[in-house]
């Protein structure tokens, strides 16, 4: 078999093979960082090759151990999985490239070998979820990424990182175990674990109560992992107290993988087979998403800490994605997928800029960042442009995803108009909290106690990464062909009946 045919499994196995070896490396200089970024970059290259292949030939199937699918474990890489692979490995590469110096500043030299090993394991877990076609396998890889994420968060400089990590551990394990119960009920009623196979066998048992409960548990478990509105308490905490490069990586892709699982279960399993009951499940999500993006944006407006503010803004943005998913229509899927892609770009850019500021100013408290505009012009400009994309001003990626979301929502008629207004209200709130940072950065005089001498521009790799992301934001604002073709292909897959 040619090497390219092995990519579907190699994209997960490469970091999985390197991570244990990385844990053995002595903490000399930035050797662990180097190994981590090379592996991450290679995975990113493989992900791009896979996406190109998926765009031409459609879904790729790969059977592990050469066992036929319902009996062995099969990997299915559709357009959505390919996009997720790109987002995860891309976010990891960018975060590693931009975050080397801030990681050295925040985490001591002697802890880095284990830290970067956990980083690769977190990435492996997320990639494993995106690639696999087996319901129980998703649980196993979800556990790998979660365990590694708890360790990454616990390495934060301040002592609150420990309690943030413990709360994240309890919530994450509850979510994963709810998901496991859901899969257990599905297995009890269908007798198989492969998602595609389960979909075919679910039709004749779909009216029984245990299948409804299975859907409820899976959605609840995944919502807990994705920090959906009422259960989001752990996410802002984790982003604030985790080392900043970890926050870049998580903000861009960690919670989105849980939404990826929700989207797959909702559209592949519940919608085609459960009929009326499935729309009950998703309509129960709409009020939660509305609550999510209203409360998320509102709290973000009054937040004093920059990273915590972006955490709450992530809660709001995830609310948009779940709104797209819960519309259970082809336009809804397209909107959700496009926002997967664009939100990763926006949040990665914002957090890279914040990493620069925290590195030079030593704190992420907004008041203390006064006058950052004058001292670090390039970083702050990058932050502002990313903020503009977050708000959804035309010619930016944010606008494209908002545009498709509003188009999808308007299909609902009366309710759609109300939802559109609410989306615009939350975008206005986004303007407020981005402006709050801009005002502090440019128009406020630095706090007198703050010595501005030592402060200079952010390190070169961070700036390069920031501006690569900002240009990507603008580029995908003007020519969003790649995410849109992938989204349309996936939507066709679900509704066109190609699968």
């Amino acid at each position: 078999m040619s090497l390219a045919a092995q990519f579907p499994v190699l994209v997960v196995v490469l970091p999985l093979f390197v991570a244990p070896l990385l844990a053995l490396l002595a903490n000399r200089g930035n050797l662990p960082w180097l190994v981590a970024i090379v592996t991450s970059a290679l995975t990113f290259a493989m992900a791009i090759a896979l996406t190109a292949q998926v765009m031409q030939t459609g879904v790729i199937y790969y059977e592990l151990g050469n066992w036929p699918v319902p009996f062995g474990i099969g990997l299915t890489i559709g357009p959505l999985s390919a996009m997720m692979l790109m987002i995860i490995s891309g976010a990891s590469t960018v975060a590693l490239a931009a975050g080397r110096e801030s990681m050295n500043a925040e985490v001591g030299e002697e802890h880095q070998a284990l830290l970067y090993s956990c980083w690769l394991l977190a990435m492996t877990g997320l990639l494993g979820i995106a690639v696999t076609g087996d319901a129980f396998n998703i649980f196993v890889f979800m556990e790998i990424s979660s365990l590694a994420s708890y360790v990454l968060v616990a390495n934060g400089p301040k002592r609150q990182a420990l309690t943030a990590s413990f709360k994240y551990l309890v919530t994450g394990t509850l979510g994963a175990t709810f998901y496991l119960i859901g899969v257990g009920y599905l297995y009890m009623m269908t007798g198989t674990l492969n998602i595609a196979d389960m979909a075919t066998r679910l039709a004749d048992v779909s009216d029984t109560l245990p299948v409804m409960i299975a859907g409820g548990f899976v959605i609840l478990g995944v919502a807990l992992k994705a920090a959906l509105f009422p259960m989001h308490a752990w996410m802002p905490n984790a982003y604030q107290y985790a080392p900043t490069p970890v926050a870049i990586f998580f903000a861009a892709c960690a919670t989105k993988v849980a939404l990826f699982v929700m989207l797959r279960f909702q559209y592949e399993l519940f919608l085609p087979n459960l009929g009326p009951q499935a729309s009950f499940l998703s309509s129960w999500l709409i009020p939660l998403c509305v609550g999510g993006f209203l409360v998320g944006s509102a709290v973000a407006m009054f937040e004093r800490d920059l990273k915590r503010m972006l955490g709450y803004s992530s809660v709001a943005q995830l609310g948009y994605i779940v709104l797209g998913i819960s519309l259970s229509s082809s336009a809804g899927v397209t909107a959700a997928m496009i926002h997967f892609f664009n939100h990763a770009l926006i949040k990665a850019a914002l957090f890279v800029a914040v990493a620069g500021m925290v590195l030079r100013f030593g704190s992420s408290n907004i008041e203390q960042l006064a006058g950052v505009g004058k001292r670090m012009p390039l970083t702050t400009l990058g932050f502002v442009l990313a903020g503009v994309s977050l708000i959804g001003v035309p010619l930016t990626a944010g606008f494209i995803s908002k545009w498709y979301l509003i188009q999808a929502v308007l299909e609902l008629g009366g309710l759609g108009i109300l939802l559109t207004i609410l989306i615009l209200v939350s975008s206005l709130m986004a303007v407020v909290y981005i402006w709050k940072v801009v005002e502090v950065a440019y128009f406020k005089e630095p706090v007198d106690g703050q010595s501005m001498l030592g402060v200079r521009e952010a390190p070169m790799p961070l700036l390069v990464m920031l501006w690569v992301l900002v240009f990507a934001n603008i580029w995908f604002g003007i020519d969003p062909s790649i995410p849109i073709t992938l989204a349309k292909q996936e939507a066709a897959g679900f509704f066109g009946g190609a699968r």
């Binding site: 649980f139 365990l147 309690t163 990590s165 413990f166 257990g184 009890m188």
Partner: protein, 120 residues
């Protein structure tokens, strides 16, 4: 007869509720880890209840199995072997965090920790 047939599921529900109650309500971090352990053990019970076949033995086919022999379903057992190790992995990490929190905060009670966080 339904009592014996569905009793396993009822005990699963009871353990689920007991485990969740301990995780959500108890303030002590080690007690919450024990609650998490009970909650995961309940899920193990749900899976293993599925594998029992009336009159079947364990899925070990020594020698030539006589045709009529029924075997228990091996698949849930494989899944639960994996889930048990996940449970112990999470418990170990949770306890390590509880130890570090005790050293940094001086206590592992939710109320004390929140009070110290608000003061600082």
């Amino acid at each position: 007869m339904t009592l014996l047939g569905l009793y396993n599921y009822w005990i699963f529900i009871l353990l689920l509720v007991v485990g969740l109650y301990a995780v959500l309500v108890k303030g002590n971090y080690v007690k919450r880890m024990i609650g998490l352990g009970i909650f995961q053990a309940a899920v193990f019970l749900l899976y293993i209840t599925m594998d029992k076949v009336e009159g079947g033995t364990g899925p070990i086919m020594r020698g030539v199995p006589e045709p009529g022999q029924l075997y228990a379903n091996p698949l849930p057992q494989v899944l639960i072997l994996t889930a048990i190790v996940v449970g112990i992995a999470v418990t170990a990490l949770g306890l390590a965090l509880a130890i570090r929190i005790r050293e940094e905060y001086g206590s592992i009670e939710e109320s004390d920790i929140r009070r110290q966080d608000q003061e600082s």
